[in-house]
Amino acid sequence: MASASQHRLRKRLLKAGHFIGLFLAMCVITIPGLWVVLNSFRPTVEIMAKPPVWIPNSLNLDHYRAMFGGAGQGGIPVWTYFTNSLIISVTSTLIALLIGMAGGYAFARYKFKGKAMTFVMLMATRAVPGVALSLPVFIIFGRTGLIDTHLGMILVYVALNVPFTIWLIDGFFRQVPKELAEAAEIDGCTRWQAFWRVEFPVARAGIASAGIFAFLTSWNEYALASQLTRSVSSKTMPVGLLDFTSQFTLNWGGMCALAVLMIIPALILTFLVQKHLIAGLTFGGVKG
């Protein structure tokens, strides 16, 4: 009897420990982000308060108003940064997807010599640290006039995204049974038609999530963008964040407001694709 009740007690303790551990972990994961969101809505006095103000007294949109309101009131060209980011990220994502689809299809459907090696080499290009790559790219772009242009950034981001896009899309094409496409070919489709009518629709959701992953990479990239963009005409939002810093001070409120603006699109997109993303990474990796 004693052992039975002891057993039950142990089980209950384990359960409580599990709950507390999970709760703490989730707090650590979410609180820093929520803190940023909260700070974007409250006056600077309260952000800088000591002792800290945990529960806000007043919420307002002052930081947002200041950010959007021209140069005089501490504003930065937010909309220009936003459109720069959007143009560069969307265009580079679309191109990377097209290239990635071709490459992923090649890896999923053809057998060739040195396939594994080619794959690892492709991935290795992605591993080059941004800041190390930015040095020679900076020199070349400086000579060719690509520096500080949308086109230059798009080219760089396409190259950055292609290896990973190939990996993900390869995984999704592998999940499409070969027999499906073969059946279509027997029915008189060319390989090209079979691809668009059979394989592409089945793998579409996965391809979309690969696209969103590529989009997020470009949207959040800093190391290359900070060197290859110089002026308002091509600066992206992560680089724009630095506009809130000066030599000795930081405008925390304004920075938090811009941060929220950056996170919102990322948040929506991530939630849309989370399921496919996980499936794609694991299939591409394990069954590759």
Partner: protein, 298 residues
């Protein structure tokens, strides 16, 4: 017609090869060449003076460089192992939950949405000695009497950087390991139970070996982007105080852009590139062998 002779897979991969050659390979060749010269941005003619081992010799005999190199390797080792362990723990905890698991999974992905530079600013704020969240919490709970200078002291700053890095990347591990746990076949686990294994034994000898490929996937994905820590360090300390948190990457950035000594920066850059590629290739090979063990290889 040479075009018709190309095998279809090569034709399909051609655009990828072309763009990577143009944006990665050619610049890397240029950087290899310029690392042999005393090239300075402000003096373009220096690009044509070849002085082969000079930059490398200078880098390899500079104690500052070796300190940064060692610190980079140390940071990566600590961060990757911590991320792996925490991710494994988190995944095991989440996998046990029956109700509300979807919400938990969504919350877990939260840090993945943050730009690394944003994470840097966020943790710079959190660890700020005056108004930061950590010091405020410690002081109001009475755990610390005076403000702890997190980002001013070298070791504490490195700790703060590791915190930021781990916060940002643990979820990648957690999510992939969770996917592995869902795919875990139940039969061997039950067999282990029947054979009288303790929960620890069945975890160690059944669950963990099955999870290894998933852990390697996560490692491989992370190794593709290890230099992401550059953004965080750049923002949080800028390599300071007094270069005590200087990593290879911040050192390269400073030498190249602030001092304009491109040749020297490229030489160090090459060492950093080889380090990253070694990481990546290592984990991809590990991944392939883990796959083969499970009979899932090609």
């Amino acid at each position: 017609m040479t075009r018709a002779k190309l095998p279809p897979w090569l034709l399909l991969l051609m655009p990828a090869f072309l763009i990577l050659a143009a944006v990665v390979l050619v610049p890397l060749l240029l950087s290899l060449y310029s690392s042999f010269t005393p090239y300075q941005l402000t003096r373009p003619e220096t690009l044509w003076k070849i002085n082969f081992p000079f930059n490398y010799e200078k880098a390899l005999t500079d104690p500052g460089f070796w300190k940064a190199f060692g610190r980079t390797v140390l940071l990566l080792t600590i961060a990757l192992n911590l991320e792996m362990l925490l991710g494994l723990g988190l995944a095991l905890m989440v996998a046990k939950v029956q109700r509300g698991q979807r919400t938990l999974r969504t919350m877990m992905m939260f840090p993945m949405m943050f730009s690394p530079i944003l994470v840097g600013f966020m943790f710079k704020f959190i660890f700020n000695d005056n108004v930061g969240l950590v010091n405020n919490a410690l002081q109001s709970m009475g755990l610390a009497s005076t403000a702890i200078p997190w980002l001013v002291d070298g070791n504490l700053a490195l700790f703060a950087i590791i915190c930021a890095e781990v916060w940002m990347s643990t979820s990648v591990f957690a999510i992939l390991i969770l996917a592995g746990l869902f795919a875990l076949p139940q039969d061997p686990l039950e067999a282990a139970k029947v054979d009288g294994c303790t929960p620890w034994q069945s975890f160690r000898y059944v669950t963990l070996p099955f999870l290894m490929p998933f852990i390697y996937i996560a490692m491989a994905i992370r190794s593709l982007d290890v230099a992401r820590a550059y953004d965080i360090v750049q923002v949080m300390t800028g390599g300071g105080p007094a270069k005590r948190t200087e990593l290879l990457w911040t050192m390269i950035g400073r030498t190249g852009y602030v001092d304009a000594r491109m040749g020297y920066a490229n030489a160090m850059g090459y060492i950093a590139i080889l380090l990253s590629i070694a990481f990546t290739v290592y984990f991809f090979l590990k991944l392939q062998s883990a796959r083969r063990e499970l009979g899932m290889g090609d």
